[in-house]
């Protein structure tokens, strides 16, 4: 094939330029340590890198969540620890006070210390974290959960919501416990709430005049199996009539379903209790709902009541009040130990979640590196190869560039 003179030079130049540019490319790769610096070099790899980086970022987020939750739970644990100490001291005092040999003087002394303890415990119940959030208030973080009322008792102003934190792609952990669950666990008086009393029928109202509970356990158990009861009273106006009690499924609770009553007021027998109903001489049928109710109480109020007993200002019997208080202390302590166990369990979950997140992170980083990072061994071999090629093109150009017929003629 015929070659023109310019072709000789163009060809040689072209191959030298190409050699130089490949060399520079490899050099750039080695300097940056990355396999590719643009999408064009590896489009699929680039998009995988983006999604791997996102996974890494998510794992880091979870790590942050885990650490934040751990701090919160640690704070909670230490507060509960101090609370337990206080409750224990209260227990000691009240056991002493139960000693019949103690006189009024001693009881008064004990009452002062119990009063101090109540203040101390209330403070702990209202613990705030460094940012000023009440940790035991449920989701009402800016509301003081246990608020002192004018009569010396405390009422719970928080709610029963716990905060959930995401610690891995499918795992959520409660990062708080609310005051309702921890401290409002004291059982108070159980009773019946009457609902659905029409407000315009003043005289024809069917109120309770007395609820006598003979067997509390049976009473609450029966409501647990029947739910709300509907009481329907049909009175004939002369003190007689009949009543029907149905459960929320519509089934009659009494047998026969409609029971006659002959006096006004009359006694309604319930499992474990007796309820006195007063139909008030009205004619017609009236329906109300009987709902099982349990008064909410917290341990602070129990202790306040025991102070009144110690000072001789309470209405009930002294030994009853003290026994009641000791019982409540027991309940709260067992609830708190339940809580501490769940905190421990949650801390364990956090630890294992953190470890598995670490594993995922390592795996992801390895995959990322295998796509993104340069293999130095093969790159330096490429470099040596291209260098050799360039040098060869220089040498060959030198050899052929001075060959010309004009050197030999004339």
């Amino acid at each position: 094939m015929r070659i023109s003179t310019t072709q000789l030079y163009t060809e040689a130049t072209r191959s030298m330029l190409e050699g130089q540019s490949t060399l520079v490319e490899i050099q750039n790769k080695i300097a940056s340590g990355k396999n590719f610096t643009s999408l064009a070099e590896d489009p699929v790899g680039a998009s995988r890198v983006v999604s791997l980086k996102r996974e890494l970022s998510q794992l880091e987020m979870f790590d942050g969540n885990i650490n934040a939750t751990r701090r919160r739970l640690a704070l909670e644990e230490s507060a509960i620890g101090s609370i337990n100490e206080g409750l224990f001291r209260a227990q000691e005092l009240l056991i002493q006070a139960g000693n019949g040999a103690f006189g009024e003087e001693n009881r008064l002394q004990i009452s002062y210390e119990v009063e101090e303890l109540v203040g101390y415990l209330a403070n702990l119940f209202n613990t705030r974290d460094v940012k000023g959030e009440y940790i035991f208030a449920g989701s009402k973080g800016l509301t003081e959960p246990f608020q002192l009322q004018s009569d010396g008792t405390y009422s719970y102003a928080g709610d029963s919501t716990n905060r959930e934190i995401q610690v891995s792609s499918s795992q959520y952990v409660d990062s708080s416990d609310n005051g309702q669950f921890l401290f409002q666990s004291v059982e108070e008086a159980i009773g019946i709430e009457v609902l659905g009393v029409p407000s315009d029928l003043k005289d024809g109202v069917v109120p309770m005049t007395g609820l006598t509970i003979t067997d509390p356990k049976l009473f609450s158990a029966s409501f647990a199996s029947t739910g709300d009861l509907t009481l329907s009273v049909e009175s004939d106006g002369d003190g007689t009539g009949r009543y029907t009690v149905t459960d929320s499924g519509g089934n009659a609770v009494t047998s026969p379903s409609s029971v006659e009553f002959t006096q006004d007021p009359f006694d309604l027998p319930l499992p474990g209790a007796t309820l006195t109903i007063d139909p008030h001489d009205s004619v017609g049928t009236q329906t109300v709902t009987l709902r099982f109710s349990k008064q909410e109480g917290n341990i602070l109020n129990t202790l306040v009541a025991s102070i009144a007993a110690l000072r001789g200002t309470s209405t009930g019997s002294y030994s009853d009040e003290i026994a009641n208080a000791l019982n409540d202390l027991d309940q709260v302590q067992s609830r708190l130990s339940e809580a501490v166990t769940t905190i421990g369990a949650r801390l364990n979950i956090l630890d294992s979640a953190q470890m598995s997140n670490e594993d995922f992170k390592l795996l992801t980083q390895q995959t990322l590196s295998s796509i993104e990072d340069l293999d130095y061994a093969s790159a330096s071999t490429e470099l040596a190869k291209k260098q050799l090629a360039l040098e060869a093109s220089y040498a060959s150009f030198a050899k052929i560039q001075n060959l010309s017929l004009f050197n030999y003629i004339g």
């Binding site: 070659i3 003179t5 064009a40 489009p43 699929v44 998009s47 999604s51 708080s176 409002q184 739910g227």
Partner: protein
């Protein structure tokens, strides 16, 4: 009279000295670009005259190879342009500082901080800062793409003026060559010049060359047959505003007073490459990013509106609501379109990242073409609806149309957008509109909330289990269904607080009834929610007083009879993080056409990357194709110094021999004269 030795010798001398001259021409032009070597053709004189003459000075080249080189040059220039342009886009998408996926990672990381601690103002401020940063990254991305568009426009203008300069030179050359040819002079250099200009032209635009008159006149045509240069006249190319979208510039061929749009006929070459890049890569990318921004805005806003902020108020829009889309009317029907016409959205999640063309095909009939895949939607195949509010019941795939009272207005919903056209007069057949629903998405995204306390991270509703509950039932999830501006939760209250009360089981199945708790002492049974069957883990839907579905409560595990759950407005519940969790979970929801936000971005990345890869590979391939065709051409027409050196010797010897003829003649003459004396 026969030719004398003198005349033969003189002829030989002339011929050989010409030959030497042309050899010298070749040698001296060895490095001239585009030079075709010239070869002298000797021929014997016509008998009875003896001697030699130069018949012709041939220009050695191959017109087929020339054509090949032009074609390959066009292909190379086109891919070179595209490669250069796509590199910028490449860097934009992958660089850590402009990469939108990395920006979203930071945004969601800041959101998780608020999930941990929604009350802490610093966390909220940090989140707002990250949201702002994400917004600027979107806007920055779009403005860089817009810059590219502007640069492209400037570049195309300068290319067009270069083309015009070349075509007018070509026209002049045609005339000059014609006049030289008719006067019998050597016009080989002019032919070289013309061939070189053709090659330069091929760099800018694909051309075909048609020779006539034995190669004297050459007509240059575009790929479609439109003539650029014919004989002594050159047509002009101009860059004009696009129609209907003025910023989509087009190239026009002007002949006399007529201007034709030739943008799609440019073939390859730099100009064609620029427009390919713009239409196939730049514009679709802009649309995709716009759609991502819109879907992100809508989904975040929807969830944010379902939450409650630190002041107990329902959440407002977190980002500025998605504005109206862009549309253009073709210039001929532009004046008829009233400003009340608008392009809005009924369901952002159904948007495709495509542009649409709407063409009126008759009275009250039209056709919409989806430009990404060419699908056509005819108005007579669309669902006929009575009013635009029917859009909430869903729009079928082929679209829905809503005729209005007058024939000058119609509304059509398709693929997530609604276009309402209001005309001053009845739309004529042939009227055309360009609809661009997603292109402005990234440009218009903005952060609406500036006060950290206004971040709605808590749930508006609270579910409280009663103290007396004995069973294991607990709350699994509470989900707000209606957080819109008309939602009854907006005033910051629940219009009907309710209580779920469980009944004794019948055959092992639990049922529950729902009571209206507006008067807590008088629970009022809601008749349509009496004795419903309970299934653990199944959501229970609740409506507001007007019957609109408002929220869903999901309980799990088994209750006992009498267990109660009260649902009321979450007053003071500022530590709750339920809505923040829901917003954080949006990161993995497949909101954009079946992909999560960052997966959609990754898809776009892969698409652009593949295109970039293909262009790069073509570019390298075209480079070697062009060099091999140039080599082939050069080997035919290029000067080889060794060859010329040999020729030099050859003609020199012939010249010396010719001088001998004259000397011989002189000797003969002298002998003759001396013999006669």
């Amino acid at each position: 009279m026969s030719s004398s030795l003198l005349s033969i010798g003189t002829q030989a001398l002339n011929a050989n000295s010409s030959a030497l001259a042309y050899t010298g021409q070749n040698i001296s032009n060895v490095n001239t670009e585009g030079y075709s070597r010239q070869r002298v053709d000797f021929a014997t004189q016509e008998p009875p005259i003896l001697g030699v003459t130069i018949q012709d000075v041939q220009r050695i080249t191959d017109q087929f190879l020339e054509e090949q080189v032009r074609r390959d040059q066009s292909a190379l220039s086109s891919t070179e342009q595209q490669s250069r342009k796509i590199e910028l886009l490449d860097k934009l998408m992958i660089s850590e500082s402009t990469n939108l996926s990395a920006a979203m990672d930071s945004y969601f990381a800041a959101m998780q901080r608020t999930v941990d601690d929604p009350l802490f103002i610093a966390n909220r401020q940090l989140f707002l800062a990250e949201a702002n940063s994400l917004v600027s990254k979107f806007q920055n991305f779009d403005s860089r793409l817009e810059d590219q568009l502007a640069t492209l426009s400037g570049e195309s203008r300068s290319i067009v003026s270069s083309i015009n300069a070349i075509t007018s030179s070509l026209a002049n050359l045609n005339v000059k060559i014609g006049s030289l040819a008719s006067s019998g002079q050597n016009y080989n250099t002019l032919l070289d010049e013309r061939a070189q200009l053709m090659k330069d032209l091929a760099r800018y635009v694909s051309v075909n060359v048609v020779s006539s008159d034995g190669g004297i006149t050459q007509t240059v045509v575009l790929a479609s047959g439109e003539p650029l240069v014919s004989s002594g006249t050159a047509a002009k190319l101009t860059v004009a505003d696009g129609n209907p979208n003025p910023s989509q510039i087009q190239v026009q061929l002007v002949r006399g007073t007529k201007a034709t749009d030739v943008t799609s006929l440019l073939g390859e070459g730099e100009l064609g490459g620029l427009f390919s890049y713009r239409d196939e890569i730049l514009q679709p990318t802009r649309n995709e990013i716009g759609r991502l921004a819109m879907v992100f805005t809508e989904t975040m806003n929807e969830q944010h509106r379902k939450g409650v902020d630190l002041d107990g108020l329902m959440g407002q829009d977190l980002f500025s609501a998605v504005m109206e889309g862009q549309f253009y009317a073709k210039r001929t029907n532009q004046t008829l379109t009233r400003p009340e016409s608008e392009l809005s959205y009924y369901d952002v999640s159904k948007l495709t990242a495509s542009d649409y063309e709407l063409e009126i095909t008759g009275l009250n009939t039209f056709r919409i073409k989806r430009l990404s895949d060419g699908s056509i939607f005819d108005s007579d195949k669309m669902d006929l609806r009575n009013s635009e509010s029917a859009v909430s019941s869903g729009v079928p795939e082929q679209g829905a149309v809503y005729p209005q009272a007058s024939s000058n207005t119609f509304t059509v919903s398709l693929d997530g957008f609604t276009f309402k056209l209001v005309s001053a007069d009845t739309p004529q057949k042939g009227d055309l509109f360009l609809l661009q629903p997603t292109v402005t998405g990234a440009r218009n995204i903005a952060l609406e909330v500036t006060n950290p306390a206004s971040l709605a991270l808590a749930s508006p509703l609270r579910v409280t289990p009663a103290q007396t509950n004995d069973g294991n039932a607990e709350l699994e999830l509470i989900e707000i269904l209606d957080g819109g501006i008309d939602s009854s939760l907006r005033p910051g209250q629940l219009d009907r607080p309710i209580e779920i009360v469980f009944n004794p089981p019948i055959n092992g199945e639990y049922t529950f009834s729902v009571f209206d708790m507006r008067d807590p002492a008088n629970p009022d049974l809601i008749t349509e929610m009496e004795n419903l069957t309970y299934t653990s883990g199944e959501p229970i839907t609740f409506t507001d007083l007007n019957g609109n579905e408002l929220y869903e409560v999901t309980l799990r595990n088994l209750p006992k009879a009498g267990d109660r759950f009260l649902v009321e407005f979450n007053v003071d519940g500022v530590s709750d993080n339920t809505n923040a969790l829901a917003m954080a979970n949006l990161q993995s929801v497949p909101a954009v056409d079946g992909f999560s936000y960052q997966n959609a971005y990754g898809q776009l990345l892969a698409k652009v990357g593949t295109q970039a890869n293909v262009v790069k590979v073509s570019y390298m391939a075209n480079q070697s194709i062009l060099s091999s065709s140039e080599d082939a051409l050069e080997s035919v027409r290029g000067v080889n110094l060794d060859e010329e050196a040999a020729r030099l010797i050859q003609y020199q010897q012939a010249y010396t021999a010719s001088t001998r003829l004259i000397t011989a003649y002189q000797d003969i003459f002298d002998s003759l004269i001396s013999a006669v004396r």
